[in-house]
């Protein structure tokens, strides 16, 4: 089998299996378990197939391009160390699958469980055989993700949800730190390839960014390996089904951190910083975990803290400046996996058979499940470091290192042996508590189930693991020796120290320490009996330091309350501040750009002031300021004043040679006025409240509010002044510069000769830049459709539903307001005149449309004029009257208009010309003479039709609201005074 295929299969198989398992029906327990087991075994076989290469000191390597430009490739790489871990992942994986088959209830959706488990196995394998740092971080986060899913598997339990969330939060945070660390390492080394990185140890350690990389990488490792102070997640992860705990929380996931520290040990370790961070974390974790473990009442909780402690031990070993310590760490990692997995499984069996894991309730299970009891006893003894079991040997090595190794700072050196001894004693104590508490003592009394031995196959994995413990404990060199050797060699290479895997090293200090620890542990357990029987939760002295509570409180505070406060400070949901910010930013951006380079008027001398236009602008300015002044309380006045300002703008357009603009602006003015008036009817009435300053106790508050209002107004005035000044300055600067001439020249030259029209503006609109116009009419159409849609759902406020008081007589009766209806004599003359005007206005519109290409006019203004003619009929004749007589189909107008415009554009295609290529010619008609035939005219007719339709659609839809309201309220309504004016509250600004 080629290496590449083997490696690829190793990663892909579990994921493929996960997908298949996920698709199985939820009751297919056996199929899922069989699939998972098969995949685990095949994977194990694949790992084994790599043994010959690895044993010979070789490395299997395969590289697949992924993002080659960024140096991220899928590199799969198995050396001795990776091989060892891969074997552990797949081997224990196979055992856990077997165990889980019997552990999981058939009521659970087991296929999903195995799917997650397989995916986790794949991710873990991915970490282990990654040959690229980023890829390693990639799989790293995947393990966090799938462990989250596995912990939360029983998500109907709050503990599972909380545990899963905490685990994910902490480990994913670490993972992100690791990702950052890998990026920094990549920056230092210049490559993410593991082989390159491993060859660049000196460069890494001497780089100024070493410390940054170290902290980030170590953060990743420590969180994953549940090292102080990140250990809090592991005990709560025990809410997971026990096979998960056995697999993830003893053998694999938590070992990922260890794996990483070992992997990078050759290039990152050996510095004081490394020793401080890794060593200190390991030391604290070792002692603290062991101490807390003693006082756990939950079997799995006890094992969890014990795991934390043992991981601390390994971490501590890795923090020492000693190759031998590294070997010990690898060795203990394997040993711990064996005994801890079996212990978890045993705990799971107890839980499964008795229905509880509470040591206080359990007792004397030795009698009902003797075989399990023996297995657990051996495993616990291994954990306690009893001789002739695997734990003993690695612990001996640990003691030796604790006594001899070089540590960065001397005080640490002094306490190290004592700490090691203390932790070992604790370890004996909690092992004893596990065994004694569960299996010995009187018969249990209040167990949920009657205990008995589990199914044989459920016990089988435990038996295998315990057998391993014994075999390694008795014959270390013969059993595990070669594997440990290739692993250590692949990490340390030439620096691999001489070590001896023997049960007996003679009487030495480590042995003495072992004996002391065993004795001390037993003594401590006896001494603690009374206290433990009280059944209090948590360890004495530090009970208040409950990790989860601190974690949750912090999370809630930082990730929610603080975030909320800050978000509210930094953001807003109100419009006024938003606009202030937008305008302020614009002023700053524009002003800042000018400020940096210096502002200057242009090169042209200003033209003399025409007093007439200046005076016109006095009027315009007065109107604008007046509108700003009046818009709050006198809306109609503001509307009228805006009309005045608009007129001044029109005159300005005429003044400066833009008749088309003036025409358009005028028609738009008229329609906008009508439009806003139509809207005004639905706005609440508002009158200036006349009452003066605070009369009563509210005086001060009102005063404060007024000061605030005044401040706000002042600020807004500042923004307005800034915007006005900025615009004025920019306008002046632009106007006094030589105007651009390139495009102007072009358009003027070709308007007639190539565009076929003498009105250059119109030729630009319908030909040179007809695409703009096409877009513009789509805008108008879209807006018309949107307003129509919105008005279909329009619900007026209750207080504006009533008939306006203007329409009531003195006695409250509602009078008519449409020509031709009774009581509307005052409309007689206007009605006659406006009806006669209708064809006249339409004629003028057609005139404007047809001449637009050559003279001021065009489709847009013509369309507006027609729309105004129709609106006029609505105004004077009323909706019903008009719609009885004029069959308007705004949608048809809109559609046809757009179609004409687009069709004119498309008509160029058959001639092999681009969209909107125009065509014009003069046709000589008999009697009439030369007539210009320009495709642009058809385009303009399209614009015309669209404008008619869209304007009518909007205005008529708006006008119909009144009709609807009238129909909703009877014509002769009761005389309700409509005087519910809303006076302004103080501070409304």
């Amino acid at each position: 089998m080629p290496d590449a295929l083997l490696l690829l299969a190793l990663v892909i198989l579990p994921f493929a299996g996960a997908v298949v398992a996920g698709l199985l029906p939820s009751h297919a327990r056996n199929a899922a378990a069989g699939l998972a087991g098969a995949i685990a075994l095949v994977s194990l076989g694949l790992v084994w197939a790599a043994y010959p290469t690895v044993a010979a000191g070789g490395v299997l390597r395969a590289e697949f391009a992924w993002m080659p430009t960024l140096g991220l490739n899928l590199v799969l790489r198995v050396d001795g160390f990776a091989w060892l871990f891969a074997g552990m992942v797949t081997g224990i994986g196979a055992l856990v699958v077997l165990y889980a088959r019997y552990y999981m209830s058939s009521d659970d959706p087991v296929p999903r469980f195995f799917s997650f488990l397989l995916a986790f196995m794949g991710s873990m394998t991915g970490i282990v055989i990654s040959g690229n740092l980023i890829q390693l971080a990639f799989f790293w986060e995947l393990t966090s993700l799938f462990s989250f899913l596995l912990i939360g598997y029983w998500h109907h339990l709050a503990a599972a949800r909380d545990g899963a969330r905490m685990a994910l939060t902490i480990t994913a945070t670490g993972g992100l730190a690791l990702f950052a660390g890998m990026l920094v390492l990549g920056h230092i080394v210049g490559s993410y390839d593991l082989d390159v990185v491993l060859a660049a140890g000196d460069r890494i350690r001497e780089h100024p960014l070493y410390l940054v990389a170290l902290i980030l990488v170590v953060l990743g490792a420590l969180t994953k390996s549940a090292q102080f102070p990140f250990h809090v997640w592991l005990p709560h992860a025990m809410a997971a089904p026990t096979p998960v705990s056995a697999y993830l929380h003893s053998a694999t996931l938590v070992k990922a951190g260890i794996f990483l520290l070992i992997r990078l040990w050759p290039v990152m370790a050996g510095t004081d910083a490394w020793g401080w961070t890794v060593g200190l974390a390991g030391l604290i974790t070792l002692v603290l975990g062991a101490y807390i473990a003693i006082f756990q009442n939950d079997l799995k909780g006890l094992l969890a803290y014990s795991t934390i402690s043992h991981l601390g031990l390994i971490t501590l070993l890795l923090g020492l400046k000693s190759e031998l310590a590294l070997v010990a760490a690898i060795f203990h990692t394997m040993n711990h996996a064996a005994f801890k997995a079996s212990l978890f499984m045993a705990a799971g069996i107890i839980d499964h058979e008795t229905g509880t894991r509470d040591i206080r309730r359990l007792s004397g299970l030795n009698r009902s499940m003797p075989f399990t009891a023996r297995l657990a006893l051996v495993a616990a003894a291994a954990m306690a470091g009893v001789p002739l079991l695997n734990g003993f040997i690695s612990k001996e090595m640990f003691f030796a290192e604790a006594l001899s190794a070089e540590v960065p700072v001397s005080p640490l050196l002094n306490i190290l042996p004592f700490a090691a001894l203390l932790a070992s004693a604790f370890s004996v104590t909690y092992s004893l508590r596990f065994i004694h508490g569960a299996f010995f003592g009187p018969d249990p009394t209040d167990l949920p189930r009657k205990p008995h031995e589990p199914a044989t196959w459920m016990r089988f994995p435990v038996e295998i693991l315990v057998l391993t413990c014994i075999m390694v404990g008795v014959l270390p060199a013969a059993t595990v020796g070669p594997f440990l050797d290739i692993a250590a060699r692949s990490v340390l290479g030439a620096a691999t120290p001489v070590y001896s895997l023997a049960v007996w090293h003679g009487f030495n200090l480590p042995l003495l320490m072992s004996v002391a620890a065993l004795g001390g542990g037993v003594l401590l357990y006896t001494f603690l009996q009374r206290y433990l029987r009280t059944g209090q939760d948590g360890p004495p002295w530090i009970r208040r330091l409950e990790g989860q509570r601190i974690f949750e409180r912090t999370m809630v505070y930082v990730s929610w309350r603080l975030a909320r406060v800050l978000e509210q400070r930094a953001g807003t949901r109100r419009l006024q501040p938003q606009l202030r910010l937008v305008l302020g930013t614009a002023i700053l951006a524009g002003g800042g750009a000018v400020w940096l380079r210096g502002f200057g008027p242009g090169n042209l001398p200003p033209t003399p002031v025409d007093p007439i236009l200046a005076m016109i602008w006095v009027v315009g300015a007065a109107c604008a300021l007046g509108a700003a002044w009046q818009a709050k309380f006198h809306r109609l006045a503001a509307l009228i004043l805006v009309g005045g300002a608009g007129l001044v703008v029109c005159v300005t357009f005429v003044w400066f040679s833009a008749p088309d603009l003036a025409l358009t602006q005028l028609t738009v003015e008229v329609v906008t006025t009508v439009l806003l008036l139509l809207g005004l009817r639905w706005l609440p009435k508002r009158f200036q409240s006349q009452d003066g300053q605070g009369r009563d106790g509210q005086g001060r508050r009102r005063q404060a509010a007024e000061v605030l209002t005044r401040t706000r107004r002042l600020r807004d005035l500042g923004i307005a002044a800034g915007a006005g000044t900025g615009m004025a300055a920019m306008a002046y600067a632009v106007m006094t510069r030589t105007p651009p001439d390139l495009l102007a020249r072009h358009f003027l030259e070709r308007a007639y000769t190539e565009g076929g029209g003498t009105n250059a503006v119109n030729v630009i609109l319908v030909d040179f830049r007809g695409f703009d116009t096409l877009g513009e009419i789509v805008v108008v159409a879209a807006v018309a459709l949107a307003t129509f849609a919105l008005l279909r759902r329009f619900r007026p406020a209750p207080d504006s539903l009533e008939v306006p008081e203007h329409q009531r007589d003195a006695d409250g009766a509602v009078s008519h307001g449409n020509a031709g209806q009774p009581g509307t004599d005052w409309l007689l003359v206007p009605a006659v005149l406006t009806r006669l005007l209708f064809p006249v206005i339409v004629l003028v519109a057609i005139f404007l449309l047809l001449r637009g290409h050559d003279l001021p006019g065009g489709g847009f203004s013509a369309g507006m004029v027609v729309a105004i003619a129709i609106i006029l009929q609505y105004m004077i004749g009323g909706t019903d009257w008009t719609e009885d007589r004029l069959r308007l189909r705004p949608h048809l107008w809109i559609g046809t208009g757009l179609l004409l415009a687009a069709g004119t554009g498309l008509a160029a295609w058959p001639f092999g010309l681009p969209f909107l290529t125009s065509y014009f010619a003069y046709v000589d008609l008999p009697l009439i003479g030369k007539v210009p035939m320009a495709s642009a005219l058809i385009f303009d007719i399209g614009v015309f039709a669209l404008v008619v339709g869209a304007t009518l659609l909007m205005l008529v839809a708006l006008a119909h609201q009144s009709v609807r309201a009238h129909r909703a309220t009877p014509r002769i309504a009761a005389a309700v005074p409509v005087r519910d004016h809303a006076p302004m509250p103080a501070g409304d600004d």
């Binding site: 009766a813 009774p822 005052w826 006669l836 005007l837 004077i876």
Partner: protein, 121 residues
């Protein structure tokens, strides 16, 4: 073509008409400002909308007809349109003011007659 090319015989009446029209419009607007009540004021702008416009339209017609040496008459349209459209505004506006004042019991307008709904004709 430029205004400078206009012969004096045309320039004189054009000037007179322009000044007359603009003057009337000004007087009308001054009236709008100076007269005391709305009903008085509403009469003032009529100066501009009648004789004022008429003079200026005439001036324009004369000016362009001479300038372009052809009859330019389209100004007549503005005159016609003004005559036809102004009553609509004024009728609506004066009636609105009248109505509002009546509702509010303004002594300036005749009091609201005790009104029966007029039977349909």
């Amino acid at each position: 073509m430029q205004a400078a090319e206009l012969p004096l015989w045309a320039a004189v009446p054009v000037s007179v008409l322009l000044l007359l029209g603009a003057g009337l419009a000004l007087v009308g607007s001054v009236g709008l400002l100076r007269l005391r009540s709305f009903y008085d004021r509403i009469h003032a702008p009529t100066l501009g909308t009648t004789l004022g416009i008429g003079s200026i339209l005439l001036a324009s017609m004369l000016f362009f007809s001479v300038l372009q040496t052809r009859l330019v008459l389209h100004e007549v349209l503005i005159g016609i349109f003004m005559v036809v459209t102004t009553p609509v505004t004024f009728i609506l506006l004066s009636r609105a003011a009248f109505y509002r004042d009546q509702q509010e019991g303004n002594p300036e307008v005749p009091a609201l007659p005790p009104r029966q709904d007029a039977p349909e004709p």
